[in-house]
Amino acid sequence: MKTAKTSKIFANIALMVFCLLYLFPIYLILTNSFKSRSEMYENMVALPSKLSLKYYESALGKMNFAISIKNSLILTLVSIAILVVLCSMTAWMFVRSKNKLSGALFGILVATMLIPFQTIMMPLMQEMNWIGNHMGVKMTDTIPGLVFMYIGFGAGMGVFLYHGFISSIPVSLEEAAIIDGCNTWGVFWKIVFPMLKPTTMTVIILDVIWIWNDYLLPSLTLKAKANRTIPISTAKFFGQYTISWNEAMAALVVTIIPVAIFYLACQKYIIKGVAAGAVKG
């Protein structure tokens, strides 16, 4: 018995040591972001002798961090709010009025989930520029334009996830509400939408991970410095200056902080959502 206990303790310690080593790259940027340049090249693995925030100050300034994080937050929150509302409404209609149109539209939505972004990026930019030039609605280099595009790209997965869930809930509750005099709008928002919460959480989690981290689409449309999102300003940071690594590492640390907060706050939902998304997608 005693040996079983010690081997268990040993296994626990080994697992923790392994996990810490696994996250070594994060330790590396964290520790060196506080060091001076000479201290960093002396020994990159050592802890800093003192916590200097010098590189954080200059990195935050060069990245325009406050503006970038505001843009990323607005972009992610607004896109997801609209996606949740529109996808759930559309999916519910498709399930509850089964006709040829619903079937065809749902089929197209799901089929186009196969299209990689690279296949439509260039014609999409041409179209968005054309709309700007001929219809007077500026779609490129604006956050609302980008929100519009994320709604289009998120539609397939959102409707697909809601469609599956709604198909599994009985219609009787909705019919009872109609008999009680509730109209279609009321039935959806008062009866159906609250029941969709598990799927709504999945959609939110998957879309946060996707939109917050997305680089290619915003890199194609956003030009003005004031519109940059976090990935864009990080990429500019690594492209524009000859890399001063202490500063770069400080920049990387601050970009991870929002992700870490999000993870700590909704860890359970994130793991559940990612699993559900992978299995159903």
Partner: protein
């Protein structure tokens, strides 16, 4: 349930309109673009070249190398991601006290977007490796590719771990107990009981990693930036560079359509395999 046409339109039109503008129209225009030669400048005319763009890929050495490299990278990464992810899943589903913390820690990399992750590892493969006299891996074409695979594995192992955990949890306890009573060894239980029951999880993970690795872009641009001398340029980045760097809009779009066809074939094989298995069960 009867729903009036007005409600149907109100619920579905907004999303379907945005979806058509953002996905369907560009996809259709994109097919047209693949048959012309154009440098992307509005004042320059496009000329129709038929299937020339599609034939041209067969004589484009840089493209063929990039496509071949992407295939090799994808196959190796898929194996590594799944083996590592499965081992993680088996470890964190044991009764060890630290298993839950380990699961939380091993999943962290997936939440950090590919771009930021690429930059974090860039500091490891260049600055850190230089500091311990291993040399800069990103300036050597073979080591740069190994670096790509390491980062991909680091990013996605935690992701597939989550899917495998779901599969392992779904194995009924009595099956495992029966194996135990029959005196099956640990390895015997693993290979004769757990793995066959995990087949659906294998299918999901294999194809998720297959299409995700084949589409890799963010890690590529952040970690190696196609260097040294385009020797680590992947399929996606090759399309991007052909269109936006070399200004061959028509030719680049033809590559983008080929890219779509490859992804579509991979996914359709996945769907047919999953369907067959559902029938078998």
């Amino acid at each position: 349930m009867k729903i009036r046409k007005g409600w149907y339109a109100l619920f579905t039109f907004p999303l379907m309109f945005i979806f058509f503008v953002v996905v369907i129209i560009p996809f259709a225009i994109g097919i047209g673009f693949s048959f012309v030669e154009w440098d992307g400048l509005a004042k320059h005319a496009m000329s129709f070249v038929g299937f020339d763009n599609y034939l041209r890929v067969f004589t484009d050495a840089r493209f063929l190398q990039s496509a071949g490299r992407t295939t090799v990278y994808t196959l190796i990464s898929v194996v590594f991601v799944n083996v590592v992810g499965l081992i993680f899943a088996l470890i964190v589903t044991t009764k060890l006290k630290t298993a839950n913390i380990a699961r939380t820690m091993l999943f962290v990399p997936y939440l950090i977007g590919g771009l930021i992750l690429g930059y974090i590892w860039k500091s490891v493969f260049s600055e850190f490796f230089l500091s311990i006299d291993w040399g800069n891996w990103l300036t050597d074409k073979t080591k740069a590719m190994i670096a790509m695979i390491v980062v991909t594995t680091w990013q996605m192992a935690g992701y597939v771990m989550i899917v495998y955990i779901t599969g392992i949890m779904a194995i009924p306890d009595d099956v495992l107990e029966a194996a135990n009573v029959d005196g099956a060894s640990f390895l015997r239980t693993l290979f004769s009981v757990k793995f066959p029951l995990l087949m659906p999880s294998f299918t999901i993970c294999l194809f998720l990693t297959l299409s995700n690795c084949f589409k890799v872009y963010d890690v590529n641009i952040a970690l190696t930036g196609a260097g040294p001398n385009y020797q680590s340029e992947m399929f996606s980045l090759n399309i991007y560079n052909e269109i936006f760097d070399l200004s061959n809009f028509g030719y680049g779009q033809a590559k983008a359509i080929i890219f779509f066809l490859i992804i579509a074939v991979i996914t359709l094989i996945q769907v047919s395999i999953t369907k067959k298995r559902e029938v078998a069960m």
